[in-house]
Amino acid sequence: MNGWIRRVFGKTDEQASVGMQQTEKSVMTNNSGDPENEAATETADLKPVTNAATAPLPQRNIAEGVTRELPPEVMYSGMGEHFSFGQCTNVGKVRPNNQDAALSFFASSRSVDDRPDFGLFIVADGMGGHHHGEKASAITTRVMNSVITTNIYLPLMLGNQDAPPIAEALINAVQKANLEVIRTVPEGGTTVTAVAVIGDLAHIVHVGDSRAYLVSKEGLEQVTRDHSLVQRLIELDQLTPDEAAVHPQKNVLYRALGQNEIVEVDTITRRIPADARLLLCSDGLWAYVDERDIFEIAINNPDPQMACEKLVSLANARGGLDNITVILLKFASS
């Protein structure tokens, strides 16, 4: 898959039964190499959409090179109390296919209920030859989205008291995805770094060496810990980060989906400060673009979609040696 596709899966404007005006927007963006969904995309893009926030993107000529130019961000601008996001994935300049997958699912409501915004964002970096990698990452985003919708999002909507703790539901989603990868693509594997955002709380799940960064005025903080051999060696003071960047085994992971029926999953719960950004990315970004550049672009662009595009362009300018995926969430000002 080249470039990115934005999909509009649905849009509902509802009148709440108590007579209060209530609007819910549900936007789902899915960039993955899942060929089964290709057709669905085409048709979805043709549907008439009236809401500006979820309107399809204008047709543009695709410039020579690897990234498409994007229109300015139209979503939620000027709605200070909600967050906005951007997403971009790109094959890079060397690889024949894009084994990364990205998914964004976002719902924001305004009503007397005062429900927090909900968002689910996933980056998965597949591995394995013969299209196994792209299948593994696609399956992972799809399975996780369905499990999390069922076990976190719907209980939030229904006010279900018996819902499992959020971290457990997220771990469960990763484990289901893992089993599904083992079942359907035994030759493939994938990393996954996902965040479920409820209000200003970020619940991160993570396996492998894709990363989540917290970007705030204070700087860039890597929130996840790579499950890679070189990271362990750094932690044990056996390697410096500079040595790790050129280590012959820098791509060796000790934990990934599709490897073993039992996968250990990291979870991190963080309250995100006002005005901060949360950035998810595959190693196609962080291995080739300096953290300083990531920070500058993420913090200085008011439009997160634009920032994602710039980051991907920069990774390509640095050689585009790997697939590149970036999701950037911009949290509201206080």
């Binding site: 927090p116 008291q161 044990l236 056996q238 791509n251 990291d266 719960t269």
Partner: protein, 641 residues
């Protein structure tokens, strides 16, 4: 590393075992079949036609060149030849003989002695466990052959790749070391992301520093795998100490465990310094003698016996002498509170006692008509000491002389410690209500019906009061007393909630879980399971939570990841809340001991024995620790960290 590569990437399409049966190589070796297809090349069984009468079998290893560039191939071949020449001169019963090597059809071949047997990896796959005596014997033999290699002249030979699949057990039950490192020269560098590490290699080996001490580490790793059956290739690298051998192989002798732990030391200088030394230690294990592995036992985290043996010598229990003791007439269940130069504590003898901080001298007492289970609290601005009693009454007395300032009666016994915030005092009662009164004069503001006894201490944030009840209900109340949210657990809540600066609320349940909720809405973020009801509250310091459980364990858990960092085993229930001061965490156990434990490592620094269980949090200051005990006494210990 092809053996452990699960997703090898695109170049992994080589035809393994490309030679068909009956192929004859260099007019001499007739291929019989494939013995194994490890990674980049296959191993064949072949017959040496030079000996037509005797059926002499050999193993032939086929190696592919990493590159098609003729110069690079020539270099690889030269390296290979040089090393094969060295190996050909080796003479040790555990090293297979090398007969020949040659280059044909763009591949290199190494002809070795054929070993009839099974490698240890295969043997592990076929068995559930192997006898410890056998493993010990093999380990000794491996030390022996590695000692031989390490002492090779003029240069020591480092094996570099000790692991179960490179160790054969032949038909006589003897160890044979196969697959010397030369084959590795033929493995091309892998560019794509892949999963699986060598698992057995020492940390320094990844920097390219392979020494004899790296072989010692790998032998330790191999023995660890054989005993625990936990494949290190499937675990995070260098985490053997997170999988204690005795947890998986209870039959392993302590001596063996100590030897392996020492071999697996992260720093080479902490390992055995030679194979001879390791062999000696293993021989002592074989004889059933006590190990001389030294302080490796101290690494068993949280084992109080081990830590007191090795770490606790500086501060043995007797080294801590109380500065003073103050004895009341009954059990002291609640903790002490302090204001200026005075300390206050409630006793089950129905009194609240005030003593001088520096001397422990009696200042005043305030009598009630019921036992006092809660801790007194201080209202700084009004200089009041506030506490409830099992006589149903809540009292506010002057801190200096103990004179009553105001009282408030509830309809149940009061066992909840109060909280003073926003000029109000909040507490619960066994009558099922949470009360909010004006701290200065006791004027009633509101009460909230929890429907069950409230014995926890309310936590007050900028805009919420959070409190739990015996019904298992935890509520977030607006400051005006109306409910904002409810969270229910299946069993009662006795552990008082605590909210951190991130607005995350932590509390323990009688169901054994520690819960983390978003204090803004009561959403459950995560839970952490212990094996007994949690009565104590958590203390948060930095990113870590510290708390005890009635399962007899004191835990340190990362608040963001809900992952245990360390545990300290007390053995008896821990119901008292801890306190943190300068790198140490302090808490009492129902075993009567008061512990000082290192915040980072979870190791005991010292402990002090009281004559009764400790059920409440200590008071800590720069130079003194106050501890209440059920032996009726309030202890003042010197602050030692």
């Amino acid at each position: 590393m092809p053996e452990t590569t699960q997703f090898g990437g695109i170049e992994d399409t080589h035809n393994e075992g490309s030679l068909k049966a009956n192929t004859i190589l260099v007019n001499r070796y007739k291929i019989m079949g494939v013995l194994g297809g490890g990674g980049q090349g296959a191993v064949y069984q072949a017959r040496d036609l030079r000996f037509p009468e005797a059926k002499r079998l050999v193993a032939i290893k086929e190696m592919l060149y990493p590159s098609n560039d003729p110069n690079q191939r020539a270099t690889t071949l030269r390296t290979f030849e040089r090393e094969a020449n060295i190996l050909a001169t080796l003479a040790h019963p555990a090293i297979p003989k090398i007969f020949d090597f040659f280059d044909q059809n763009n591949r290199a071949y190494l002809v070795e002695e054929y070993i009839n047997g099974s490698d240890l990896e295969l043997l592990m796959n076929k068995t559930k466990e192997l006898p410890v005596e056998k493993i010990t014997e093999w380990a000794i033999d491996l030390c022996d052959v590695l000692h031989y290699l390490h002492n090779h002249q003029p240069d020591p030979i480092i094996f570099r790749d000790i692991k179960p699949s490179n160790i054969m057990i032949d038909s006589f039950g003897k160890v044979r070391l196969i697959d010397f490192g030369i084959a590795k020269k033929f493995v091309s560098g892998t560019k794509q992301t892949m999963i699986g590490t060598e698992g057995y290699s020492a940390p320094e080996q990844y920097k390219g520093d392979a020494t004899p001490l790296s072989d010692i580490y790998s032998l330790g790793a191999t023995l660890h795998h054989i005993l625990t059956r936990k494949d290190p290739r499937l675990e995070a690298p260098f985490t053997f100490n997170e999988r204690p051998i005795l947890d998986f192989a209870p039959k392993a002798p302590q001596g063996m465990v100590d030897v392996i732990e020492k071999a697996l030391a992260m720093e080479p200088k902490d390992r055995f310094q030679s194979m001879a030394e390791m062999k000696e230690a293993l021989e002592r294990v074989k004889m059933g003698a006590a190990p001389a592995a030294g302080k490796t036992a101290a690494r068993t985290n949280g084992n109080p016996n081990a830590t007191s043996l090795f770490e606790g010598e500086e501060f043995s229990a007797s080294a801590i002498e109380p500065r003073w003791k103050f004895k009341t007439e009954d059990e002291i269940r609640g903790g002490p509170a302090c204001f200026r130069d005075m300390a206050f504590v409630g006793s089950y003898d129905t009194n609240v006692w005030a003593v001088k901080m520096d001397s422990g001298e009696f200042a005043w007492k305030f009598p009630t008509t019921g036992g006092i289970a809660a801790s007194p609290v201080i209202d700084n601005s009004n200089r009041l000491v506030l506490f409830g009693s099992e006589d149903n009454t809540f009292n506010a007395v002057d801190y200096q002389n103990g004179r009553i300032n105001w009282t408030y009666s509830t309809k149940g016994r009061i066992r909840s410690t109060a909280r003073v915030a926003h000029d109000h005092v909040f507490f619960g009662s066994d009558d099922g209500f949470v009360y909010a009164l004006v701290a200065g004069n006791g004027r009633y503001l509101w009460q909230y019906d929890m429907g069950a006894p409230v014995r926890t201490r309310p936590f007050v944030t900028n805009d919420l009061i959070i409190v739990g009840a015996e019904s298992g209900e935890l509520v977030g109340l607006e400051l005006a007393g109306s409910r904002k949210w409810t969270y229910r657990v299946k069993r009662s809540i006795n552990s008082s909630p605590v909210v951190d600066d991130q607005g995350i609320c932590y509390f323990g349940g009688f169901d054994g879980n520690l819960y983390a909720l978003d204090s803004a809405n009561g959403y459950n973020l995560w839970r952490f399971r212990t094996n007994g009801p949690i009565v104590a509250s958590v203390v948060k310091d930095g990113e870590f939570l510290y708390f005890g459980s009635t399962d007899g364990v004191f835990y340190c858990v990362n608040a963001e990841s809900a992952r245990e960092k360390w545990r300290f085993t007390v053995g008896k229930p821990v119901v008292a809340t801890a306190a943190v001061h300068k790198g140490s965490v302090y808490f009492g156990g129902t075993d009567g001991a008061f512990y000082c434990v290192d915040l980072k490592t979870g190791k005991e620094k010292w402990k002090f024995e009281t004559g009764g269980g400790i059920t409440s949090a200590p008071y800590l200051s720069e130079n003194i620790i106050l501890v209440s005990s059920m032996d009726k006494t309030l202890y003042a210990l010197p602050m030692v960290n």
